[in-house]
Subunit: 179 residues, 2 copies
DNA sequence: CGCGTCGTTGAACAGGATCAACACGCGTGG
DNA sequence: CCACGCGTGTTGATCCTGTTCAACGACGCG
């Protein structure tokens, strides 16, 4: 975006396929960067296409993945467009935690959270300073604890409420429910 | 969204298939409303699935459509998250005009624009009042003329610049270019 | 030990929200 | 035919949320 600004439009976590869109779209309109050290697997487009051709249900599954990504993206539009600062942060935290839980990367009500405040700002369309202040509000309200890279959810119900978080857009209903 | 607010996450124009996502996603996370009188065609999921199975290239085409929708959605995140009011409006106008042109619904540098200021506000995450003021800025700068439901682009290059509009995300390169 | 990244704090500022009132065109019903 | 109501656009004044700038502290690392 102009003026040296950037917008983070999605976070990917372990197990995601972050660039499925390149399979059918020629010019790429996003860039991808890692926040933590990662293991990456690259898959040839030709391989994928052969796989899809051979097994239509694979196609459906991948397609479904990209549709969910799109749904998340729409939710982010709403997040950034409608909610005020603390709610935006709360919403992002809720989404992140639930996705981590879905791939088994949580323990009890805690998980790793490798995203710093500046990145959180780029993701929510607010300044890093205000991210900091919003986080302090959430901490003061006893909803979360966030030190270093470890996030603990202290009051899920209230965090969900504050963040106006409605997990249906993540389309996880087949797996565990949102408690 | 909470508090009686709503977020418009996309505009669909003639020829669009606005609910392809329902093909693979069970619970729907958006609602669709018409802004103008419309002709609608409904297609059975079963029909579509049979079609896709029989002709893999149809699958690819539909999939591609949904991927472009996702790309547009990401661009909206950036629009709402990073740009200031007049640029947001300019960006939406640019996108709308280009998509209308792609389906042949423009004449010269004008097209129908059936979206009112309140809706524009819901789409850009700003109040209707501020939409009004931003539109006046764009008019005063000689970039557009917008009366009733008819939009004229008076200075495309400058509108594009003001809106920080980079049309690659629309993935239209196969058709006419963005002048 | 020194440096860079990240988090935190304060003060001043500004962009946009909010509230309220008014103008205008249009369709409806009296 | 006119009165009325409604939706939409327009304007002004005030308030507030979040930005910006700047400085400082804490921590990890070479």
């Amino acid at each position: 975006v102009a003026g040296g600004k950037r917008q983070i439009s999605a976070f990917h976590i372990a197990g995601d396929i972050p660039d499925l869109q390149s399979l059918h779209l020629e010019v790429l309109d996003v860039s991808i960067a890692t926040v933590t050290p990662c293991k990456l697997a690259f898959i040839q487009h030709a391989t994928l296409l052969r796989l899809c051709e051979a097994f239509p249900r694979i196609t459906a599954a991948f397609w479904r993945e990209t549709l969910i990504e799109a749904a998340v993206s729409r939710e982010w539009v709403a997040n950034v467009g409608q909610r005020r600062a603390p709610a935006r942060i709360a919403h992002v935290l809720c989404e992140f935690f639930l996705r981590m839980r879905a791939v088994g990367l949580t323990e009890d009500h805690a998980c790793q959270f490798p995203i710093n405040q500046a990145q959180l700002g780029d993701a929510t369309g607010m300044s890093a300073v205000h991210v900091n202040r919003s986080l302090q509000e959430l901490r003061a309200a006893g909803l979360i604890s966030l030190k270093g890279h470890s996030l603990k959810i202290l009051d899920w119900a209230e965090l969900k409420a504050q963040g106006d978080f409605e997990p249906s857009y993540l389309h996880m209903e087949r797996r565990q429910d949102a408690a």
